[in-house]
Symmetry: C2
Subunit: 212 residues, 2 copies
DNA sequence: GAATTTTTCTATAGGTCAATAGATGGAATT
DNA sequence: AATTCCATCTATTGACCTATAGAAAAATTC
């Protein structure tokens, strides 16, 4: 009775094998020209297939955007939540958060870029859904900063909201210049961390020894 | 011979009186929907005139974008150059630069936003021209930071390029959230300055008295 | 108030693009 | 070998959008 009866046992598993490639091409094209500036023809050209053939993989251009955006955020939020809830001082967790926030640029630059720049063009419902993830991520950063302030690790006279927006703005901007500059992500993350924690200015008292 | 002969002395000065309004409407619409996502009909609707009437003010949608972008950068570069060449320590000038970079958001938010997000869609020539201005501005920040490092005002172990990109990313991102958050620009600038100069972390030695 | 100039309008041409329908060829399955 | 399934193709529709042409209206000047 509990037998589900797979009507065709040796079936499926083959369906839409190229789907990941198709979405990656869409990501590349959307990243380069923007959602509305890109045509489905552009995506097809990038793949060497006909425009109409794309519709075997997605039912609308907007859905393609949604799939790209999803790959652009997926992981971000989960990873952030794990770090925020994990061990370590607020300072240590903030460092991990910044690293984790930048690392998807290594292998998913186009997806991240599209998520950041084009999500506003998603249809209302998916935009709201994805917006919730974004706000969740802001929240994670903000809570860690607040905790650091409460525990005396960070200065107490900060506006944690402004600090959050500053840090995220800084990190997110990297998606647009990471290609041109040739600095590896871990290096960028390291510089950002030092800037965020210690700032540009020399400490008033004697210079502390620097790591590395 | 040198008489230019103004054929109609009491002439001109009336032409295209509404041009600034038209461009402002374009800025608003481009900021909201993006260049390719916006139609000339949208702009006309925002003004309460007919779509074709816009072409009395600009000869193509792309030219409208260029006019908006120009208003988005104009002043930025000049003001930055004056500050960089002016008096004061590197630290003081960096503070002025950050303030000056954020202040256009007060009365030209849409123009700045369009410049930042849509300039990629300008036709090749004007894109290059405007790109030169952008790079000039990066240069100004970078030079002040380098000077501060050389003079011992800033830490010497910074990567000035990374610091520049971090600061500009942080400031530019404000154009996208300034509307939602309700913090006044001078307040935002103040918070950013403290973060950039001193960082989040408490100084290792005893706490210095904070301004304000 | 007639003439001229400026601004806006109607109408439409011409192009581009997303999306659908149905055919075709090849691979896997029986 | 026949059948079923997967992927891509050709052809086309219908909507939308920029830009032009020329008429009408409103404002300004003489």
């Amino acid at each position: 009775m509990t037998v589900v009866s797979l009507s065709s046992p040796r079936r499926a598993a083959n369906q839409r094998r190229r789907a990941p490639q198709i979405i990656e091409a869409a990501a590349r094209v959307f990243a380069e020209r923007g959602f509305h500036g890109a045509t489905t023809q552009d995506i097809a050209d990038a793949l060497g297939i006909r425009q109409a053939s794309l519709y075997y993989y997605f039912s609308s251009k907007e859905l393609a955007l949604e799939l790209v955006c999803l790959k652009g955020v997926e992981g971000f939020f989960e990873a952030g939540k794990a770090i925020a809830a994990g061990l370590g001082s607020a300072r240590e967790r903030l460092i991990l958060l910044i690293n984790s926030h930048l690392s998807p640029l290594i292998d998913r630059r186009d997806f991240v870029k599209v998520f950041l720049n084009e999500r506003q063009h998603l249809p209302a419902e998916s935009r709201r859904r994805i917006g919730r993830w974004s706000r969740g991520l802001e929240r994670i950063f903000e809570d860690v900063i607040k905790e650091g302030m409460a525990k005396g690790e960070f200065r107490a006279d900060l506006d944690p909201r402004m600090a959050t927006l500053a840090i995220l703005g800084m990190c997110n901007a990297a998606s647009s210049w990471y290609r041109k500059e040739n600095a590896p992500i871990p290096y960028i993350a390291g510089e950002f961390v030092r800037l965020v924690i210690d700032g540009l200015g020399k400490p008033a008292a004697k210079r502390r020894p620097r790591r590395r």
